[in-house]
Symmetry: C2
Subunit: 586 residues, 2 copies
């Protein structure tokens, strides 16, 4: 096995050229096997095996700088830069993350997990190089739908003006997570069809040099082309055609399902775990599809992640023109939704909170300033979501709850979620965002809102009544609140337990009452404390004779810290909270 | 005069065609005269006079939907939709804002003041139209550098796929606020040079139909072209060449200076008021230029507003390759800065806080997550900045202070500002943002930081010591804090006055001491309260035996409310604060 003997790019460079295809086969096998064991980005990584081997054969990383866009295609890169054992030995899998990470290796230049940043980062590297009089190569590898993100365009536009030596490899596999969307991909398809000779060339139009390579799995051709481009004194785009999932039949046959599969059986491609009960994806997709059938003005929107809201290919087909996937273009998704809402349609945008960050200004300046009646379903907003530092979901409350005119609701259970969703579809006074619970589906008939509940004016739901401590437990932390309440009751402390429902607005009347009748108010928040909801409660009660203690996550970028560990580090465990409350009551 | 008799687009349509040039001349005169009296967007509005007359001649607003990008070129539109008096009668100038505003007129479809949103909004309008089975026209007018914003690209990319009837008018005057930047503008220039016939056509490449009109000041030609495009069943880009400042010689000669002049003398083009003392623009530009001469790795970056940081054409020339204007591309600016910083250069990005919103995710995911040592100079972050709802600057603290790893400093005076700026240039542990005071330049030697002060660990500066109330007065509100302290002292209340310096981090040791030795802590914050700095102080002190009262701005979108009025409405006046404090001490 050659891969085991590769400890740095120098070993790739020393290998006899005739052995490179064997090395590629080993890498491919390691991608499939390691992902089969633990899940992973199968399709995108299989597509760039030869490309990555050729990169490290020709360029001298880390002196030469290689930036992987999104970096969910960096497994081969990691294997060739001293981290192969993590993919070959299941016991060592935990040594690498799924994304590039400077803490892991000097070959990983940036922490990257969001899309479309590589060209701008490369521009910065090249400009710094030029100012310092250095001569290293700068290479950006972009693909998997990232070209439709506006930042990628801004980067290319500025790269043309910078005029400096940068190689942009457009890894064109024809797919985003689902199929590609937008005019730029029609343009790429035309270039593929014409082997790069079409006059319709968006890169040349912007002033960038352009090269085409038809077979991105021909490692010798890649090495030759990279060798020609090495040392370029001007920006050049190399358009390389690859196959998503290349070399693993199930992944080639269904790229969307194989974008990031859960653990699977290599021989059959079938998932190892049986499908569980329907999650909020299924619940959302089936509910919206029913509502759409009754209301032709209801439009579901996704920015390249339709599955998170249950819009499988079958549901997309059923929704027809009432479903729009805008591709990786979160900014457009929000401003497009604003236009729809202001013209009388009702858009429902389902999106991960961490990616919604890309549209912060569009939320502020388009959606909220115009009071557009749209529904945002925010997924993954929780410590129980993704735990890669690049994808942390628990910064959504500081981001969204500070926006004027936006109602941000945090349901606890399925019943509350659907009631809020249905209410939002009929609400016309402004945008509503709903924090889809990220801790599994919980059914709680006892928490179900009354029929006709108006969520625009938050009314806290008092679930238990006491007199010493009022526990305000928001959204997915309501269950923690119940456990804390039980534990406090066991030590004789009389607890009021509240489901606040809203992360953006306070029920001041309820807070006034609680402040009068309790000695301590505690907020529990499944989100970052700084700038969040609990601090607002504390400020509101600051002039009252009641002590307030806010629990939430620290303002930091923990990387791959398990939720329980992170919570414990932030003092969010039942014993720690009980002990804090006891101290406050003393 | 014809303009006085135009009360709606129907009047434009009823006018004899031969009179349209006279109407245009009157509009042009009204733009110059009204801007001479009160300041305004002269250049962009003069460029679209004929274009706007032709739009309202051919399309039937508001049934047909016209969206002006940025909307700083909507003066003629306002004049033709019932609001001419505001431009003709100085006494009525206050009736209109400088931007489109649905509260003013049904012809203004959206509140718009940021760039590059029009195509996405138009996509939403068109999609809603199609779902409802309507047939109205949808027109987006985009220009003035807005095409380089990534959102505009996302919009065009998706418009090509939407395939629906939308007319995008690219108003190509060759300028942003300063000169255009980026490859897309080289492409437009090539199309101008070839009268639209070049094969290099970025619009066609993306699958959009394309038309070219050489003379955007020929109203008859515009009317004819619009008539041909009316009712289009597919997306079409109309590329129209205009001259920024057209018809007013000083503006044509120097478009950058005439983007938004202060009141001026029409005959000479000279400003009416003498230039005042140097502001923070001049102070910043001259200071950075000095530092650059000594440090070739220092790079100043602007996103199309170089003047706010004092980078006049002369200073840009002097800075040479150490100054980069990326054009309207705030996202790229931040990610580019990240690349620069991680490769050993030190970028200084000067930007309005309201426009920095466009780069929220790039701040979070690129700059902060990577701990990139860059300096951000945030301008206009204050109630004393712009007061159009579209440009409110006081949401910067909730946006920036919640970002992990970012140090956000709020200097009070010139001495503190320069000390913080210099410190940031040598700081290598992460990004630093500085809230440039927006209330005029104040020199305060008594507040000057000690030499070598380390701003990474905030130490509150205790300026006066008392024992009843501790006033924490941040940044531009420090002066208010002094006035409140004086007033409290006059009624016998012993006041501690603190300059907190940092909006992102707490000096917990100082807060602990203040909580022990005072009965009341007051925070004064020139920014939105929700998610801001004061709430964090309140939460930190929530479990202490001290009352906390936070003063700041409500979470809302006040439009053109003078600062004093807005402050009074939020309870931020010296008497109101004194009265609140007295009540808390009772």
């Amino acid at each position: 096995m050659y891969l085991e003997r590769i400890s740095s790019p120098a070993d790739v460079q020393a290998l006899d050229a005739s052995l490179l295809p064997s090395l590629c086969a080993e890498i491919r096998r390691a991608i499939v096997d390691s992902s089969a064991a633990a899940g992973g980005h199968v399709g995108s990584n299989l597509a760039v095996v030869e490309l990555t081997v050729a990169l490290h054969r020709v360029f001298n990383s880390p002196v030469d700088k290689i930036v992987f866009d999104v970096s969910h295609q960096s497994y081969a890169h990691k294997m060739l830069t001293g981290r192969a054992a993590a993919y070959l030995d299941p016991a060592r899998a935990g040594e690498v993350s799924g994304f590039s990470n400077p803490a892991e290796s000097p070959h990983d230049l940036f922490s990257v997990g969001h899309t479309s940043t590589s060209v701008s980062l490369a521009c910065g590297l090249a400009k710094a190089r030029d100012l310092a009089g250095d001569t290293y190569n700068v290479v950006a590898v972009i693909g998997d739908g990232s070209l439709s993100g506006g930042l990628a365009f801004e980067g290319l536009d500025n790269l043309a003006e910078l005029g400096s030596g940068v190689i942009v490899i457009v890894n064109d596999n024809g797919w985003s997570i689902a199929e590609d969307h937008g005019g730029i991909y029609a343009s790429l398809a035309e270039l593929r069809r014409t082997a790069g000779t079409s006059e319709r060339n968006v890169f040349r139009d912007m002033g960038l040099d352009y090269r085409f390579l038809a077979d991105g799995h021909d490692v010798a051709a890649l090495v030759e082309t990279f060798s020609e481009l090495r040392g370029t004194d001007h920006p050049v785009v190399l358009h390389v055609c690859t196959v998503k999932g290349r070399g693993y039949e199930p992944a080639e046959a269904n790229p969307e399902a194989w974008h990031h599969p859960k653990p699977f059986d290599v021989a059959t491609g079938l998932p190892r775990a049986a499908a569980g009960a329907p999650g909020y994806d299924e619940i959302t997709g089936s509910h919206l599809l029913e509502r759409m059938a009754a209301d032709p003005k209801l439009v579901a929107i996704s920015a390249a992640t339709p599955y998170i809201m249950g819009f499988t290919p079958a549901r997309r087909a059923a929704a027809g023109r009432q479903f729009v996937d805008v591709g990786i273009a979160e900014e457009h998704a929000v401003t497009f939704a604003t236009g729809l809402a202001m013209a009388g349609a009702h858009p429902v945008l389902g999106i991960y909170g961490t990616f919604l960050q890309r549209a912060y200004d569009e939320l502020w300046h388009d959606l909220c300033l115009n009071g557009a009646p749209a529904t945002l379903l925010v997924f993954g907003g929780s410590v129980f979501g993704a735990n890669d530092a690049t994808h942390l979901g628990f910064f959504d409350i500081p981001m969204l709850a500070a926006l004027p005119a936006l109602t941000y609701l945090a349901p606890v259970c399925r019943e509350e979620y659907l009631a809020m969703l249905d209410w939002s579809l009929g609400y016309t006074d402004g945008p509503v965002a709903i924090r889809v619970p990220a801790h599994g589906v919980v059914s709680r008939l006892d928490l179900a809102p009354a029929a006709g509940e108006d969520f625009a004016r938050p009314r806290y739901q008092v679930v238990r009544s006491g007199s010493d401590v009022a526990l305000l437990a928001l959204g997915t932390f309501f269950e923690l609140g119940e456990r804390v309440a039980d534990a406090l009751a066991r030590v004789g402390i009389r607890v009021t337990l509240v489901n606040p429902r809203s992360a953006s607005d306070l029920d001041e009347a309820c807070l006034d009452e609680l402040a009068c009748s309790h000695r301590v108010v505690v907020t529990l928040e499944d989100g970052a404390l700084a700038g969040g909801w609990g601090e607002r409660v504390a400020a509101y009660l600051g002039s009252r004779d009641v002590r307030v203690r806010c629990f939430g996550l620290d303002k930091s970028f923990p990387n791959r810290v398990p939720a329980d560990e992170l919570l414990a580090a932030c003092g969010i465990t039942v014993p720690a909270i009980v002990s804090d409350v006891e101290a406050l009551l003393r």
